[in-house]
């Protein structure tokens, strides 16, 4: 049993005109202690909704979320259960996830100020320890957020989560608001934290390249469903789902060789009206007839890989014939 388990999670939200949009349409995911799992996908694929559902910020319409063997409750008006406080979230934009009107030290101290797990005399020391842990100078504690850079703020956001002594942190695009030189600092910090503190992490990102350097395992999400999960190295070496392949091909190479990345045709469809069969079929270069009607399940391939694609129904699947591809156009 994993520390964080998402089983067939569905998240539905309502548009202003009343239409129900299944942002997450049945996704399953496991994260173990000390493990970093990357969740990648394009904008609007539902990865942020999944992250919020994982910590109970939005209700799940169907499926279950369990943390440490117990179901995660939706955050209501009452204080969050103590047992769930070891499951934390870090938001994307450190300009919005920190209160502009409180010193950062006070905000880092929130977790123990709320839970009374620490005598007041030792707050200072613990805050200092956390700041040191995320690589920030200790004198920052008395500053206000506007005096900090984006990278420093994101470290504060991480320190705030760490103060709750978490077993699991869900990170929603924690790197994308940062400058590239700072991005690497924070990425390395995450790796260190997972290793040293044995914290599990679910790292949501649209940047496959950075996830590769950080995550042990990677899950690829497309239009509300997970299409492939695999150990990161294997996923890069031999992506099995055509969408994963497309994501990898689209990453530009910073080597000065003038290599033009490959574009994926079409656009991500409206999640309120997903395509029939395999959701990826309108953009898939290997589309086959059955992709239009039959929904591929996420099935095991080998010990630790899962893929949802008709190409891999049998472990050694035949490549599609050209005439089949024409059928779809």
């Amino acid at each position: 049993m994993s520390l964080l388990e998402l089983r067939d999670v569905k998240v539905v939200y309502q548009r202003r005109d009343g239409t129900l949009v299944p942002a997450v349409a049945g996704a399953s995911l496991d994260v173990d202690a000390g493990e970093i799992v990357g969740l990648v996908g394009e904008t609007g694929c539902g990865k942020s909704s999944l992250a919020k559902a994982a910590v109970g910020l939005v209700p799940v319409a169907a499926g279950t979320v369990t943390f440490d063997g117990r179901p995660v409750h939706v955050l209501g008006r009452r204080a969050r259960r103590a047992s769930e406080r070891r499951l934390q979230l870090v938001f994307q934009n450190p300009y919005e996830s920190i209160n502009p009107r409180r010193t950062v030290g006070a905000q880092v101290a929130d977790a123990f100020a709320i839970s009374h797990t620490l005598p007041r005399e030792s707050w200072r020391a613990r805050v200092d320890e956390l700041l040191r842990r995320v690589g920030l100078p200790l004198n920052l504690a008395r500053r206000f957020p506007h005096q900090l850079s984006g990278g420093q703020r994101q470290r504060i956001a991480i320190a705030r989560a760490l103060a709750a002594d978490p077993a699991m942190i869900v990170l929603d695009e924690p790197l994308s608001a940062l400058d590239s030189s700072v991005q690497a600092q924070v990425a390395n910090l995450l790796v260190d934290l997972a290793r040293d503190l044995h914290v599990g992490m679910l790292l949501i990102s649209h940047d496959l390249a950075i996830v590769r350097h950080v995550a042990h395992r990677t899950a690829v999400m497309y239009l509300g469903v997970i299409v492939e999960t695999a150990p990161t190295a294997g996923l890069w070496r031999k992506p099995m789902h055509p969408y994963t392949q497309a994501l990898i091909d689209a990453v530009p190479h910073a080597d000065g060789a003038g290599h033009l990345p490959v574009a994926l045709s079409g656009e991500i469809p409206d999640p309120a009206r997903p395509p029939s069969g395999c959701r990826f079929h309108p953009r898939c270069p290997h589309v086959m007839e059955r992709c239009l009607s039959d929904v591929p399940e996420l099935v095991k391939h080998g010990g630790d890989r899962q893929v949802a694609c008709w190409l891999h129904e049998e472990p050694v699947a035949a490549r599609p014939a050209d005439d089949l591809r024409r059928v779809s156009r």
């Binding site: 080597d255 990345p261 574009a263 994926l264």
Partner: protein
């Protein structure tokens, strides 16, 4: 061959509550016809301000210094009316965020044709036909229907294509693209990059590509200039600068990047935060973050010195010389 645009010793000061603030401090570069010139740098490096200075779109109270010669005229010394004629017709600009860069309440047709009619004096019908042609050119599906739409009805990638079509409308010779793909997904980004490359080739269009993403630059730019805190750190042909970076900042940026080809490489971050214009360090602005810095780096601003074939670099320490000398 004389370059299309030649910028020499560009300075920009912005007006702030605490007096003028130097944002761009002596930047020079050339952009050749049909070439993609890349301007790289992190936030606060002054790359966007450089572009806005060329177009004369700086915020009120800004001052400029230096020259920017395009077709024999100095863009920085033009009168307002002359500058307005230059905008759109000779230099067009595509901005970062396609959502906020298009007017949310005007139809695509209106936004595509109004400068055609004003700048080129086309009739409504001519402008309409030209606009449809432009949308076709940027590979917009169903251009006629798109003309009647509003920006919110399109995806980010499509909006960016519309922005490019607007930029190309009056057939400018130079297109400034400021982070044109930053707001887009990688899968969509690739499409925009290919579009820009094609336009460049087919129309002999010069492009200034401004981005913090070295991967994007590497894919598209013929030559690049890396800026840090308003000054040029290093410049030269892309393959040289990216393949054999000499300046510690450029090298640091490349090392900090995740690289899809190299397996299991660790990321080597640059310590500290990018310098902001408000608190630009003395001497070499990069010295507080540079592992090769010497005491002299804190005092003297390093001059930009030519190294080999067309490259320039502003670091007296030059710690990576050996790697190039071979």
């Amino acid at each position: 061959m004389t370059p299309l645009l030649s910028v020499r010793d560009l300075h920009v000061w912005l007006d702030t509550a605490r007096g003028p603030l130097s944002i761009v401090d002596g930047v020079s570069f050339d952009v050749g016809e049909g070439q993609v010139f890349g301007l790289a740098g992190e936030s606060g490096s002054g790359k966007t301000i450089t572009a806005l200075a060329l177009l004369g779109l700086l915020p009120a109270g800004a001052r400029t210094g230096g020259v920017a010669i395009m077709a024999g005229r100095d863009l920085l010394a033009m009168r307002t009316s002359e500058r307005r004629r230059t905008r759109g017709r000779e230099i067009a600009m595509v901005f970062q965020d396609p959502t906020s860069s298009l007017h949310p309440m005007l139809t695509i047709e209106r936004q595509l044709t109004e400068h055609l009619r004003y700048q080129l004096g086309l009739s409504g019908k001519e402008a309409h036909l030209r606009a449809v042609a432009l949308l076709t050119e940027v590979r917009m599906p169903d251009p006629e229907a798109a003309m009647r739409g509003y920006p919110h009805q399109f995806s980010g990638g499509m909006r960016q294509r519309i922005q490019i079509a607007i930029g190309l409308a009056c057939e400018p010779r130079l297109l400034i693209a400021d982070e044109p793909t930053t707001a887009l997904d990688v899968t969509v980004q690739a499409g925009i990059l290919r579009l820009l490359r094609r336009l460049c080739k087919e129309k002999n269009l010069a492009v200034i590509l401004i981005t913090h993403d070295l991967g994007v630059l590497s894919a598209l730019a013929d030559s690049i200039t890396v800026m840090y805190a308003g000054r040029v750190a290093e410049s030269g042909p892309t393959s040289q600068v990216m393949g054999h970076a000499r300046h510690p900042y450029t090298r640091g940026l490349i090392d900090a990047l995740p690289h899809p080809e190299a397996p299991d490489r660790v990321l080597i971050p640059i310590a500290g935060d990018p310098a902001s214009p408000e608190s630009r360090p003395s001497g070499c602005a990069f010295h507080p973050r540079c592992r090769y810095s010497r005491p002299s780096c804190q005092i003297a601003i390093p001059p930009l010195i030519p190294i080999d074939d067309g490259r320039e670099m502003a670091c007296p320490v030059d710690p990576f010389m050996a790697s190039v000398a071979r």
